[in-house]
């Protein structure tokens, strides 16, 4: 593992200070405002009626492509599959050079070397993201999880998507959840850390909001809804709750944390609703791939199809879009 020495480590939690105890964590989480479920659903529903047309739609579709973490996370993933997906990531629509590359290619650690190789020299700026920490369950000892992260980073991953310890969170051991994130952040070294809350398992919005604050306090660069392996995955209301937590954290610390909804976002129409939610909650500073990502696999082709429709005035058959 490539860890910096403990003595020079900056306090990982900007608002919790250097020595974090169960008591400080509890006090910190108790101050997090509660969430009214009905109100959240209502606000997300109201923003879903925004009408994004013509130039605005084109700009939103383009942005959504640049925000995609094109993902394959299957037991049957092979180097061949990853190489093909990498070429899709670099040039999503081979016959339209105006289409930008996606943000990142997201794979399992074993596939990282292949992804790095396939993207090398493309000049596309597509990053390699690796899930780690015994994704998706996270049910492994911490040093093994941190070791996996370090291995992926050493193999060339630019970004790490970790899962939080939901068991510890639900049992009230918030300090453990916090410390695991801090340890993984250290193992990340220069790599960029996305912290998956697995909101479908946290179950309540109050939990989601607290877990969001906890992850950000522990040093998350991004917070992410889901692994995609648990239902429900990303929803508009749960994303809104996390965006509001990001807003509070930014107001309190000045640190801007990114957001990544993942799982179940498969159409351009829904993706645009997420961008509306983002713009009207956090504003234009967040409308960038540096601060917002979509974790998706089938979304990309629908975005391409919609762009083709805006350009040509009619829909193309899915046969005209490559699967990977």
């Amino acid at each position: 593992m490539t860890m910096s020495s403990p003595a020079t480590t900056a306090p990982a939690s900007p608002i919790l200070g250097p020595s974090v105890t169960p008591r400080t964590i509890d006090a910190f989480l108790r101050a997090v405002p509660s969430v009214d479920e009905v109100g959240v659903a209502e606000r997300a529903g109201a923003l879903s009626t925004r009408s994004v047309k013509r130039e605005s739609k084109r700009a939103a579709l383009d942005l959504a492509i640049r925000m995609c973490d094109l993902t394959t996370l299957e037991g049957r993933d092979t180097p061949g599959k990853v190489i093909q997906l990498a070429s899709k990531a670099i040039r999503p629509d081979p016959i339209d050079p105006d289409i930008p590359p996606v943000a990142a290619l997201c794979v399992y650690p074993n596939m990282v070397p292949h992804a790095v190789e396939a993207l090398a020299g493309s000049g596309s700026g597509v990053a390699v993201a690796s899930v780690a920490t015994y994704f998706p369950s996270g049910q492994a000892p911490l040093d093994i999880k941190a070791g996996e992260v370090a291995w992926a980073v050493a193999a060339g991953a630019d970004e790490i998507d970790m899962v939080i310890n939901r068991g510890a969170f639900l049992s009230g051991d918030y300090l453990r959840v916090h410390d695991e994130i801090v340890a993984v952040k250290e193992a990340c070294d220069q790599a960029h850390l996305k912290v998956i809350l697995e909101t479908g398992e946290l179950s309540t919005y109050d939990n989601v909001r607290r877990a969001s604050m906890l992850a950000m306090a522990a040093g998350a660069d991004f917070i992410k809804t889901s692994t995609g392996k648990v239902s429900p995955a990303a929803t508009l209301p749960v994303t809104l709750v996390m965006l509001e937590a990001i807003r509070d954290f930014h107001a309190a610390t000045g640190t801007a944390v990114g957001m990544k909804p993942a799982g179940g976002i498969s159409t351009a129409k829904v993706a645009i609703r997420y961008l509306v939610l983002l713009a009207e909650t956090l504003g234009s500073h967040w409308l960038t791939p540096d601060r917002f990502r979509f974790g998706a696999s089938s979304l990309l082709n629908d975005l391409l199809m919609q762009i083709r429709w805006l350009r040509d005035g009619h829909y193309q058959s899915p046969d005209y879009f490559t699967k990977d």
Partner: protein
Amino acid sequence: MSPSESPSESPSQPARRAEIVPTGLDYVASMESTDVVSIDPSYDLWIEGQPAEPTTNRYFPTINPATEETLSRVAEGGSKDIERAFRAARKAYEGPWGKMPGAERAKYLYRIARMLQERSREFAVLETLDGGKPIRESRDIDLPLAAAHFFYHAGWADKLEYAFPGLDTAPVGVVGQVIPWNFPMLMIAWKVAPALATGNTVVLKPAETTPLSALAFARLTAEAGLPPGVLNIVTGDGATGAGVVGHPDVDKVAFTGSTGVGKQIQRRLAGTGKRLTLELGGKAPHIIFDDAPLDQAIEGIINGIFFNQGHVCCAGSRLLVQESIFGDLMDKLRLRLTHLRVGDPLDKNTDVGAINSRAQLERITDLVDIGVAEGAEMYQPPCVLPDRGFWFAPTLFTGVSQSHRIAQEEIFGPVLSIMTFRTPAEAVEKANNTPYGLSAGVWTTKGARILWMADRLAAGVIWANTYNKFDPASPFGGYQESGFGREGGRHGLLAYLRGGS
């Protein structure tokens, strides 16, 4: 590409009031088409199932408040016209309608409800053109609720004796109704649906600035086959309204509007034995406790005061915030205001539309000037208002005292007066320190406190952790100078039944 290395970061001293740039996703205008609506160059009165020329021979313009363009000219009903309308209503009451079994009446109401649903886009556009409210609201709230009121009351028509065992459930007779300009179509539904469900006939006077949806609705009832004379519409100004409520043959008067006019009507009807319900003004307290779900409370506050440009009798226009969270709440509220989209009501992305009339704009402007002169601190988000039409930017006042006029008087516009309190008892005291008593809102996660507050707040409607929620099954109405009588729910039927009150 580390997001934490943003320029706004200030590691030495955390920026507590970190700036967030509001917009960013620029929506190009997405206009609702007006093709679905055809507006005649002029409209007559509607008496006995057909258009009737006014004996006054006078027509007044109705304009689009967002553009100041004249949409149509509408008949001014005089005393002879009112007389004709009441004769038609009496004839229908003593004729087919009064004798019709409830189950048969229900069929008409169901049919009207379905037709309103089918033509909801047309009516929504008409409401927005004539009244200035955002199409998002007329489409998603006004019209669905109006249809829901007809569906709901249709269900009661043949069940009145079960709803009120032992009570005389015969109709009262001919009802005179005067409705305001803030929810023209919805107020028609609130008034007409219970009146017809219970077997009464109606003479209705729509507001002077928003008569078009009532006239379109009259034509819809004719298409639905409603017997002539059951619903009569007499358009005009305040004098016409006075003629309707003061007509000797009126059995019951229902009025929604200002407290001043409500008092005049009550004086006029005193001692006549005629029935009266009044739904008047309000200055609703919207109370935010320190344990409230803050971000949802912000949405509630926004909805409470900026819904329909604040032209809402139950608008949450007095915000009472627990002092300990005042700073945080104001930061969030000011930021949220910058996301409000003020502009063309026909744009589907507009949140706040046009002020209904020049007169109302002047009243709002006057009261806001008074607020500034009284020493309250005003905040308006940066927003560009259109050149033509009547507009007022969303406005917050802090540093408001109970003794300020902006804390006491109904502004009926997008203007929120914000005060603080320290304890639940003080919140109740401030909330109730008003001549009004229509509605109130309470935000807290503590269930026991919600009940404690609800016991003590003198308001007809109390919303907990939400605001401006309406349902035909829920009775609506006020205390004190907000009027009396209830509309909606089982309670709302009583006003239209002989054995009721």
